[in-house]
Symmetry: none
Subunit: 250 residues, 2 copies
């Protein structure tokens, strides 16, 4: 299905192993056959096997310990529901916050411009998006939240801004988006976010550019820091789990 064997041996072997891992043929924490074993069984040189393994390591699916072997490191056994989250951007979490740093500026600018330049039509759209979002079920408002912000960016009447923000958003992995949305599950966060949305809305509608910028920036920053908190918590959980496991295996 997703068999892209693209370039060649090492690639296809990596894909093959990945498939086995995702299938569950290779359970998490289970030991992967040794390099020499794979090499002879697959009829390729050991170098190729090593390249394939490094490829998987790059994706964080594998961990290798000198003298012991390589092990599947699917952190969370849960199929593919809620928490492959961390693993994806765990190595790049820094970049994620860099991204928020940029977004903070641009969303702020967008809100300010929207307050200044929104036409009546824009204001109508913003109002509609806002009301729809407020009335909606908190669990399903991912799209609506997005639509609200989008309506504001569009009201800024700056295509470059729109374009850049779009590509930044598409940069965020779905998992991260999901995580952001999961903030809504925590009542305190949800309320804070709602408050921010209201502030942004009113500021833009009442054409108070300065306030709009401030509110939008605060909003992005809040989301970013909330995410950071969650990451910190999960890191602790993971570490705790690992410690626990080591205790058990000791």
């Amino acid at each position: 299905m997703t068999n892209k064997q693209a370039n060649s041996t090492s690639q296809s072997i990596a894909a093959h192993l990945e498939q086995m891992i995702l299938d569950g043929s290779l359970a998490p924490e289970s030991k992967i056959p040794s390099e020499r074993q794979l090499s002879s069984r697959l009829g390729v040189s050991r170098a190729i096997v090593r390249e394939a393994l490094h490829e998987l390591h790059g994706r964080g699916m594998i961990e290798t310990r000198h003298g012991k072997g390589s092990f599947v490191s699917c952190v969370v056994p849960q199929v593919d529901e809620s928490t492959p989250l961390m693993q994806l951007y765990i190595g790049h979490s820094r970049t994620l916050y860099d991204l928020f740093e940029v977004r903070e500026q641009l969303e702020g600018q967008a809100a300010a411009l929207a307050a200044e330049r929104a036409t009546e039509q824009d204001q109508y759209r913003i109002r509609k998006a806002f009301e729809t979002m407020e009335a909606a079920d908190p669990l399903t408002n991912a799209e609506l939240d997005h639509a609200f912000h989008r309506s504001i960016v569009e009201a800024s009447h700056n295509p470059v801004l729109l374009h850049v923000l779009n590509s930044l958003k598409s940069l965020m992995l779905d998992s991260v988006q999901a995580a952001v949305m999961n903030l809504a599950h925590r009542k305190a966060f949800k309320q804070q976010i709602d408050r921010h949305h209201r502030q942004i809305y009113h500021a833009v509608i009442s054409r108070q550019a300065r306030w709009a910028r401030k509110a939008a920036m605060a909003h992005v920053r809040h989301v970013s820091e909330s995410l950071r908190q969650i990451e910190e918590q999960e890191k602790h959980l993971i570490r705790a789990a690992l410690d626990q496991r080591e205790v058990e295996s000791a």
Copy 2:
């Protein structure tokens, strides 16, 4: 900072290359030195280099083409200048000012972050770029001006910011760049620009983030408005010419 060199050679080489990519030392789409070259330059075997490259490939930071080489595949997707949408807008002067509007924010943020996060090495680079620029012949300092701004953006240590600003800059047509440079011909503008540069430089070096942001934003805004003025003047000239023609043909 995030330098986990953990296991060994291939890992640390991968990390090193990743750093270079994120830093912008290796621009997107740029060719990475050949495996044999890296191998000899880093003093390790080619196999190790290959493993490091595969690691990066696994993370999607690299693409490799047989017989050609390996290439940085933009971590931060380029703000597509090729997208049909942008294609339409490019060239419209209105879009140009939208662009400056965005740049104003981002350059400001970059300067502020640079003031906060610049290492000694960064400061040295910035100082060198600044002094070189000041000492240079005003007519040929297009490159140097660019280098100065770049050194500051790099000192912000935010790869997303770096890449976005890079792609924005590439959006500006050469003609525009030339026009900006032509501002230097007018003594008043030139002096103002120099003053801005000095302010930015001193603010960043003395770690005054707020001031740095303000200066950088003022700088971009000034350039933008100067350009607008020039355009206005030229428009008058053109209109005058057109009127003249109509008179003649009447």
